[in-house]
Amino acid sequence: MSGLVGMALRNLGRRRLRTALTGSMIAGGTALAVLSLGMNFGTYDHMIDLATRSSVGHLEATRAGYDRKPRLNKTLVDPAAAEATLRAQPAVQAVSPRVEAGGLFAKDARTIGGLLVGVDPVTEGSVTSVPRSLGEGAWLPTARGVDDPIPAVFDAGLLHQLRAAVGDEVSFVGQAADGSLAAELFTVCGVTKLKDGAMAYVRLADARDLLVLPGRVHRLVARVDSLRHVDEVVLGARPAEGDVVQGWDALLPGLARSIEADRASGWIFLAIVLMVVLLGVANTLLMAVFERTHEFGVLMALGTRPRQIVLLTLAEAGWLAVLAATVGGIAGTAATAWVGVEGIPLGDMTIEYGGVTIDRMIAVNSMLGSVGVPAVVAMCALLAAAVPAWRAARLHPTEALRA
């Protein structure tokens, strides 16, 4: 048995052209499938990263139901406990608190509705990219004098509607948590690039003073080391009763649904790639069996059993499949890593997807891609070899010898 398996490996080495032809087909298909899967995963990760960095973070702790029906008084029951349970998990890299309130922003005769968000100027940058992605001006200062104007960073869309610019004063009118009127004058210190955004960021302390929310938090926004760990952190978090921790997919359900739908088409594409590989391998091996009919006749005349002919044919296919799929897996993983670092710019062909603009394709390696895909391709190739092997075993020795 082992002699025939060894002979199969030797046969591959001595039929170099055919081995190279079939092997390159398997390796190429594997590499393509690995890269395709990597680009799918990478693009999803990129989209999620863009979406979460622009506002919500990877996950958030809020009062239960706050997300569906935000109310000024619906703050976390125990912000300290929620922060502690998040920070206790090794995957969590940063946590930042927020308070927020809807209201009217006005400049001169223009009044626009928007969301006032109180953030920690220091920690906000570690959970979202807002502080680092200003189009103009500067991010919020960590401290200010009692008589200094209250600084605010506005989304470009809101500021544009107010016809205001950096350095201008914009008034805000809303309701405080105690039922009083919350009115304040902000000085625009920076502008984000969000042309359709309607938020204004102020220091957490200023927002709490204005909204009468001392020590209270509407959202604890957190970032984890990898998107793969979000579910793990959400499941592992133990906030106080009445508070909840939710991942990005619950916070951005539209994006999650879009990705889920696209993932299904990605699997179909992968299945098509595998089918092409399978048919190609089956065809090449079938042709090889036709070419070798006489040789199989000789082997049978010498006393090779039909089952041993199957073993020999499958062993050849198996060696080839494993070697070629391994090479393809390595090549695909390397290509995925390269695309992961360099990215493929889309130029003018940017994609609007689930509210996120994708300007480059990013790929990311995974165990499923680097190990799972080559294993599946190798198994498919072996499966494809079953038909030629079966045909070879059914040859009649005298007819095969005449071929």
């Binding site: 000789v298 082997l299 005349a301 020795p397 005298t398």
Partner: protein, 229 residues
């Protein structure tokens, strides 16, 4: 005791032109130790006969038995085992496995028999030495002349010490010296181990050494004589 027994063995082939009776009711025995030549013109049924007594084919009717076992009762696996353990073939067209070297070709049957690698290597090398190819062990068939390939095929047929050797024109591509050496080797094996040899040949030198000469014509035995040597 007969190694091979044919009783009314008939083999028809269906062709577009109609049914061809390649072998037509042949009855005879091949005894252990026979050194036999089957002669006859092209189309006389020699190849069909060799296919039947080599367990490569089954008769359309009649009975062909090898070592007392009727081929009709054997499935593909049992027929393969019978060929592997009892029969050695020397084909006219050599029929070496192209991807295997000379020594690997000779080793192949022993590999199927489960002979340990070192032993089969040594036996194969020894047998190739006996047919004068001791220095060409690692050459593949496409690097050997026709005569050299024929000698590898003979070595392959003899190395596992089969009870029956079927050889189709085994000396056809050999010069007279090589041919003589090969015949000596086969005669020695025949005498020493009582190996049965059946040759299909037109070679007068080989016919001259046969102890039994059978002539076929139109699928029937025309004559079958034993010759005292």
């Amino acid at each position: 005791m007969s190694v091979v027994s044919l009783r009314g063995a008939t083999r028809y082939y269906e062709t577009k032109a109609g049914i061809v009776r390649a072998l037509d009711g042949v009855t005879f025995d091949i005894d252990r130790g026979d050194f036999m030549v089957v002669a006859g013109p092209s189309g006389s049924g020699k190849t069909t006969l060799v296919n039947l007594i080599g367990a490569l084919d089954k008769p359309t009717s009649g009975v062909v038995s090898i070592d007392g076992r009727s081929l009709a009762d054997l499935d593909g696996k049992a027929l393969a085992d019978l060929r592997r353990d009892r029969i050695g073939f020397v084909f006219q067209a050599y029929n070496l496995v192209p991807v295997l070297t000379a020594i690997e070709n000779v080793e192949y049957v022993m590999l199927l028999q489960g002979v340990p690698a070192a032993e089969r290597r040594s036996r194969a090398a020894e047998m190739l030495g006996e047919v004068g190819l001791g220095d060409l062990l690692d050459r593949r068939p496409d690097a050997l002349s026709g005569g050299q390939q024929q000698r590898v095929a003979v070595a392959r047929a003899l190395v596992a010490r089969p009870a029956l050797v079927l050889a189709d024109e085994p000396t056809a591509n050999l010069d007279s010296a090589a041919s003589e050496a090969l015949m000596d080797l086969m005669a020695t094996l025949n005498e020493r181990h009582r190996t049965t040899f059946v040759f299909c040949t037109h070679d007068p030198a080989l016919m001259a050494r046969a102890r039994r000469l059978m002539r076929l014509r139109d699928g029937r035995v025309e004559s079958d004589e034993r010759i005292a040597r």
